[in-house]
């Protein structure tokens, strides 16, 4: 079983007040402490469990500047066999589509016989949840999002559980597949000191856009249809309102409030 895991480096939660946006709307990552997107660690953990049960290899793919190398080392310490960093000036400013295209090219080149691609359902910085499905389209693979349970079936398929509004769905997904996962899937392991030592002997390969045969027009800002028009803060406000009248009136009024009816239904 050959599993590719896509991980993204995102600003650590405590660093959000230090985030600066460039004029083009992209996020300036230099000087900000980055971490592996938390739910991507769940994706990696699941890949390691599948390898433990079924054998095979686990490769991690990411796109970003060379400073991401240390985080890929962490993924190797968790147990991944190989890591690939798509790093090139041409990749800068990529939106989710250009990112998916590049990651798909990387997986096709370095893991052509993959059985499964796992990624986190969404990143904590932009939260679009678009990369997984787009990646599946570029790879021509079946896909599901928001998986909270994955088991490897006997007949060339994965049995995947995803949350529904009144329960959950169980879906058999044929290989090769791309699955976006949620935090409920598992608890990511913490590398041991032995794992850290072992990770130092594992190789991280840097891939350029040229090596992936991606022209500049299909990479980075140039290859991204998304254009940021405006950035603004949307402050969250708390609404406090005292309801008047009899108990019945107040309950009736309360149930008319947006959101409350849905909660109490």
């Amino acid at each position: 079983m050959h599993v590719a895991v896509c991980v993204k480096m995102v600003p650590a939660p405590g660093q959000w007040s230090r985030i600066v946006f460039r004029d083009d709307g992209s996020l300036q990552r230099e000087g900000i402490e980055l971490i592996i997107n938390p739910v991507d660690r769940n994706a990696l953990e699941e890949a390691l469990k599948i390898r433990q049960a079924r054998g095979g290899t686990v490769a991690v793919f990411s796109m970003g500047p060379p400073s991401c190398l240390e985080h890929l080392r962490e993924a190797l310490a968790m147990g991944a066999d190989r890591a690939f960093l798509l790093s090139d000036r041409n990749f800068a400013g990529a939106d989710t589509l250009a990112t998916s295209r590049a990651l798909a090219a990387g997986i096709k080149k370095e893991m052509p016989g993959f059985d499964l691609v796992l990624c986190g359902s969404a990143s904590i910085d932009s939260g679009t949840a678009q990369v997984g499905p787009q990646l599946a389209a570029y790879l021509g693979a079946a896909h599901l999002t928001e998986a909270f349970s994955i088991s490897v079936g006997e007949q060339n398929c994965f049995q995947v559980r995803t949350a529904g509004s009144h329960g959950y769905f169980v879906t058999d997904l044929r290989k090769p597949a791309v699955i976006s996962v949620t935090k409920q899937l598992n608890k990511p392991r913490i590398p041991t000191l032995f794992d850290i030592m072992a990770s130092c002997n594992k190789e991280i390969i840097i891939l350029s856009s040229a090596e992936l045969s991606l022209p500049k027009s299909e990479s980075g800002l140039e290859g991204s249809p998304t254009k940021v028009r405006e950035l603004f803060f949307s402050p969250a406000r708390r609404l406090a309102r005292i309801l008047e009248g009899s108990m019945e009136d107040r309950v009736e009024e309360l149930l008319r409030q947006p959101g409350v009816a849905g909660v109490l239904k």
């Binding site: 962490e74 310490a77 913490i190 041991t192 000191l193 850290i196 030592m197 990770s199 130092c200």
Partner: protein, 380 residues
């Protein structure tokens, strides 16, 4: 000169921090209530390889260095100085086994020792004190097939969780000191009372009683009559840097708590972080932390290099960092004002824990004597 941690050390720091935040932090309140070291946590730390951090790979260790050990202990002490204290003393046991143990002893206890499945703690101190090792009265008598040991060790860290202890006792025949490995099942061995401390709750400290204790001959640790120098080397190479690292963790936690509180607490309509006296205190905590960190990392590096200067540097780092941690935790309490005295906040725990670091592993005054004696000896 490169002050940057290497990639392996960065990863170590991050990983141990994650472990401390996820696995130790949830246990701190319970440890504060019952003053017991959680066995499940010990097991998990063993799996992580924490006990054998400096032990060679062939004995089940990770083969990392003393600087790595300090980085690791600092991160643990940032969450719990008690656990850092317990761990660092058990690492002394591992270190002494690796440096002094016969190959038969190393093979007998490896890899379980490095993996935390067997816990060995040093037991040197007696009621007369821990620093005057020559004054120890515990005696070992050669009975042919075994050594008969009599004495009482006090203030022994991990006294009630250790599977074995390294005892320093005077050979009755030669009047020289020897080191003996005594397992808890040996006849005549028993832990005594548990001390009720003011801090470091979650780290056992108590008595070890040796009443006609029979230690097998093969448990003589290191060369006969060289036990005292072995004990001093263990304290110097592992104990002092371990204590300094624990102090660093307390200072780091104090600094983070001070900054957070100063940014959130308002006075006269503004956060108190805008007030110069508060900024002064935070600046002083930062400066003391950074100075202590440089001293401690340098001391550990000297140990790693096998430098003769390590004795002076480890002693200086120990007294400076532990005293600094007391000053810093006190300043954080001052910033917290009345809130500092409430157990809902961790800063009073930091302060209590810092006080215990001063006397453990040799008081500050003893460490000053070592530094002063070494420096003046060089001049003369």
């Amino acid at each position: 000169m490169d002050f940057k941690l290497n990639m392996q050390q960065e990863l170590l720091k991050k990983t141990v921090r994650q472990f401390a935040e996820e696995e130790i932090a949830p246990l701190v309140d319970e440890m504060e209530r019952n003053d017991q070291t959680p066995p499940e946590l010990v097991r998990k730390m063993g799996e992580q390889g924490f006990f054998g951090v400096t032990a060679p790979l062939e004995y089940g260790g990770t083969g990392m260095g003393h600087v790595d050990r300090v980085i690791m202990l600092e991160e643990i002490a940032r969450i719990s100085a008690a656990i850092a204290m317990s761990l660092q003393v058990l690492q002394i046991g591992v270190g002494m086994m690796m440096e002094m143990g016969t190959s038969e002893q190393k093979n007998r206890y490896s890899p379980a020792l490095a993996q935390g499945k067997i816990l060995i703690t040093p037991a040197f101190t007696e009621s007369s004190g821990g620093s005057d090792l020559e004054g120890m009265s515990t005696k070992a008598s050669d009975k042919g097939e075994y050594y008969c040991i009599n004495g009482r060790k006090v203030f022994i860290t991990n006294s009630h969780i250790a599977d074995a202890v390294i005892i320093i006792a005077k050979h009755e025949e030669t009047k020289k000191f020897g080191a003996f490995l005594v397992e808890k099942g040996e006849k005549g061995f028993r832990p005594g009372r548990i001390e009720k401390k003011m801090g470091l709750f979650g780290c056992y400290n108590g008595e070890i009683i040796l009443d006609n204790c029979q230690a097998p001959k093969e448990n003589l640790f290191g060369e006969k009559g060289r036990g005292l120098s072995a004990a001093l080397r263990g304290i110097s190479n592992y104990g002092r840097t371990g204590m300094a690292a624990s102090a660093l963790g307390l200072m780091q936690a104090s600094l983070e708590a001070a900054v957070k509180f100063a940014q959130e607490r308002t006075l006269y309509g503004k956060a108190i972080s805008n007030l110069a006296p508060i900024q002064f205190k935070i600046a002083e905590i930062y400066a003391e932390l950074e100075a202590s960190r440089l001293m401690s990392y340098y001391a550990a590096w000297l140990v790693e290099q096998g430098s003769k200067r390590s004795d002076t540097q480890t002693a200086a780092a120990k007294f400076f960092a532990t005293e600094a941690s007391l000053r810093c935790t006190r300043k954080t309490m001052d910033i917290y004002g009345a809130y500092s005295c409430i157990k809902d906040y961790p800063v009073e725990r930091y302060y209590r824990d810092a006080q215990l670091l001063i006397s453990a592993d040799g008081t500050s005054d003893i460490k000053r004597i070592i530094v002063g004696r070494n420096l003046t000896a060089k001049k003369n």
